[in-house]
């Protein structure tokens, strides 16, 4: 009897040894159906724009339907890779602008250059976004929308600390942070400016503000540049500002917790992040929330901010490339862009730009190195790890920057 138990268990052990499972969502290519992968932002933020594009598309192509499948930023690339292997890719996919290069270099997308003139405002696309969808002179990604990062703040808290208007320089902002801290001594763990310790988008803004950069090209190769004098000055300024302004965890990222949650719970007088953060500041502070552009260390200037954004691309295996391009045309029409703009996003072309804080912040911006392996630097958390080391004081800024920079050089030049 016990022998049988042992045998069964031994079998279980054997099976456990090879617990390799592969899951692929089966989605057979159906006749006359265009499959579109968009991020959930569209589902929650502007479903009407999606519906309008689908209606227009179906009007132009009788008998066709559009199947929009919403994805998450966290795992959409792994799912996309699985469809590339299985040969059931979507016809249109939304990609983050930092994710494009690797896929363009591998030949994952169809060349849309011949359709370019049919996309609205394609002559005046935002430079940074257009660049993220271009590889070897060809257009693979159509700019969808952009987002800049601004400071969202509580006017009541600022008034209480006797601060009249937004700061015009980093030094002034630092002085304000001290005032805000003093005025809110009674609130435990209060952050004058809540900054997540490893928010590299914000930290790198300091680097670019001081004339540094993450990496540069030298003789056809990428070289990490965080160990340059300017970059180190920027990182040091970030560290100093963090120490005065933020009581956030030195190792956490900008999504855990969401800065607007800290804000809405009264834990911060200001937060750094995308312009749409104003959506979620809570009913208590809804009426006393305003935004400004992060000031540079040079008085009167804006600090360059990270220009995030999305592109729309057509995976190479898609058999409906021309139709896919047509759907993209409908989805990026001037009307659609105006609707996105009304929701607080930055439209994809300069001629559509307005004067909101968000859009003003986009005028001075920086972007990640356009290297094939950039996404490996992001996924490897090289920058986050460096920032945590700097803030924890385990390494000096110089040591941490040098090690990260070497790391970046080797990753960017990987095979």
């Amino acid at each position: 009897m016990r022998l049988r138990v042992v045998a069964v268990a031994a079998m279980a052990v054997l099976l456990g040894l090879v617990a390799a499972t592969a899951s692929a969502s089966p989605q057979r290519a159906q006749a006359n159906k265009l499959t579109v992968w968009l991020q959930v932002d569209a589902q929650s933020g502007w479903p009407d724009v999606v519906a309008a594009a689908n209606a227009q598309f179906q009007k132009d192509h009788a008998g066709w339907t559009v199947d929009v499948q919403y994805q998450n930023w966290g795992d959409h690339l792994q799912k996309f890779d699985a469809t590339l292997a299985g040969g059931n890719t979507p016809d249109v996919i939304e990609m983050g602008n930092t994710e494009m290069v690797k896929y363009m270099a591998a030949g994952a997308f169809s060349d849309l250059s011949s359709f370019k003139s049919s996309f609205a405002n394609s002559g005046s696309w935002l430079k940074g976004l257009a660049a993220s969808g271009t590889y070897g002179g060809k257009t693979y990604g159509v700019p969808y929308y952009a987002g800049s990062r601004v400071v969202t703040y509580r006017t009541d808290a600022w008034n209480k600390a006797k601060i009249k208007k937004p700061p015009s320089s980093l030094a002034q902002f630092t002085a304000y942070a001290k005032k805000l801290a003093a005025a809110n001594k009674s609130v435990k763990g209060f952050s004058p400016v809540y900054i997540a310790g490893t928010d590299w988008y914000f930290a790198m803004s300091f680097v670019y503000d001081y004339g540094g950069s993450i990496a540069k090209t030298q003789g056809g190769k990428w070289v990490g540049n965080l160990d340059s004098k300017q970059s180190i000055a920027g990182l040091t300024a970030f560290k100093n500002f963090f120490n005065v302004a933020s009581k956030a965890s030195k190792t956490s990222d900008e999504n855990h917790p969401a800065p607007y949650d800290v804000y809405s719970q009264g834990g911060a007088a200001s937060i750094i992040g995308p312009g749409w953060f104003s959506c979620c500041v809570g009913t208590k502070y809804k009426g006393v929330t305003a935004q400004f552009v992060m000031p540079s260390h040079t008085a009167g200037q804006a600090m360059p901010g990270f220009l995030g954004g999305s592109d729309l691309a057509v995976p190479a295996p898609s058999k409906n490339a021309a139709l896919a391009a047509d759907w993209i045309k409908d989805f990026t029409s001037t009307d659609a862009q105006r609707a996105l703009q009304a929701k607080g996003n930055i439209p994809n072309a300069t001629n559509l730009l307005g004067t909101s804080v968000n859009e003003r912040a986009a005028t001075r911006s920086w972007f990640v190195p356009a290297a094939k392996h950039w996404v490996d630097v992001e996924n490897g958390n090289i920058l986050r790890n460096m920032l945590a080391q700097i803030l924890k004081g385990k390494l000096t800024v110089k040591q941490a920057a040098a090690s990260a920079s070497d790391n970046i050089t080797s990753v960017l030049n990987g095979s």
């Binding site: 456990g16 040894l17 956490s252 190479a316």
Partner: protein, 321 residues
């Protein structure tokens, strides 16, 4: 049935005619093979073919570029040598082995203690305890991770609050995720917590197999509880303990979900990799499927080596019965 000396058997029972291979005999001979055919077929489809593909993939350069073209480039053992020359790999192996030993040790010890407790306590306490264990068991891994994450949250974690209220120290805004040791300790707690129910309930069931009269006899002979446990109870539990230990080694060495999600994708660095996370980062995040396959083969070998001792002992125990 078998006699040591075949000749003698023949002499004792002389059979004039040699046995003919009748159709019935052939039928009888093939039945066992027919019976195991489905199992062999299923195992072949579920195990052999994927392993074959895995081995092929591990000998190829297979990145995003090759994936799109559905065609790998033969590179021999390049993937393996790049792993074995990677410092990160060796550090990860060492870290994962230590992690596994700690997890398995705590799981088995804790489970055994709980099982022994279950035998001792009164009926309703046992029901209460068992229901608690089953509830823990029923909780999906991802949900458990989320709950643990909330409890140890930097901003307003309930663990921080309780520890501070108990005057154990000032844990206000204590960052549990600041160091590798702290991160992996949390993961260990979570895994052991999740694994305890299975181990405890299985061992409790095994304890019910310990004959009451044996224990009583030992006690009458003046054996102390410790002696009774070591000389009577433990030997009877051994087969089950061996199974549980080897299963735990397999699970804990390859654990991914809890570690990856609790530490958090944005905290993952080569400095806190476990094997499965190393595999995930190299294979999937960098889309280097050839190297990923090679890593999983190496993992297979390590796990096989780690559990070899236990599996062998288990088979021996089986033979004796």
């Amino acid at each position: 049935m078998t006699h040591p000396d075949g000749m003698a058997v023949a002499a004792e029972a002389p059979r004039p005619r040699r046995r003919r291979l009748t159709r019935a005999a052939i039928g009888r001979g093939t039945v066992p093979y027919l019976l195991i055919l489905p199992v062999v077929g299923v195992l072949g489809a579920l195990l052999a073919y994927p392993i074959y593909r895995l081995v092929i993939l591990s000998l190829q350069k297979y990145t995003l570029f090759e994936l799109i073209r559905h065609k790998g480039v033969w590179v021999g053992l390049d993937n393996f040598s790049s792993i074995l020359h990677d410092q990160v790999f060796w550090h990860t192996v060492l870290r994962t082995v230590i992690f596994t030993v700690a997890n398995v040790g705590l799981t088995i010890a804790g489970g055994l203690a709980l099982a022994l407790l279950l035998v001792r306590v009164s009926g309703w306490v046992r029901i209460l305890l068992t229901s608690g264990l089953v509830l823990v068991w029923a909780m999906p891994q991802v949900v458990a991770v989320q709950v643990w994450y909330w409890m140890t949250n930097y901003q307003n974690g309930v663990v921080n609050y309780v520890l501070t209220q108990l005057h154990i120290g000032d844990f206000f805004q204590h960052d549990w995720y600041a160091s590798t040791f702290s991160q992996l300790s949390l993961v260990t707690l979570l895994i052991v917590w999740g694994a305890l129910p299975f181990v405890a309930i299985t061992l409790y069931a095994a304890l019910s197999q310990v004959p009451r009269e044996l224990v009583e006899a030992a006690e009458i002979d003046g054996a102390r509880p410790r002696r009774v446990f070591l000389d009577v109870t433990l030997p009877i539990l051994t087969p089950v303990l061996l199974i549980l230990t080897s299963l735990s080694i397999l699970w804990d060495f390859g654990v991914f979900t809890q570690a990856y999600l609790l530490i958090g994708p944005s905290h993952i660095t080569p400095g806190n990799y476990l094997m499965s996370i190393y595999l995930f980062q190299e294979g999937f995040q960098k889309a280097d499927y050839g190297k990923g396959s090679a890593i999983s083969i190496v993992m297979l070998v390590i796990v096989a080596a780690l559990s070899f001792f236990y599996v062998r002992k288990m088979v021996r125990v089986g033979e004796v019965e």
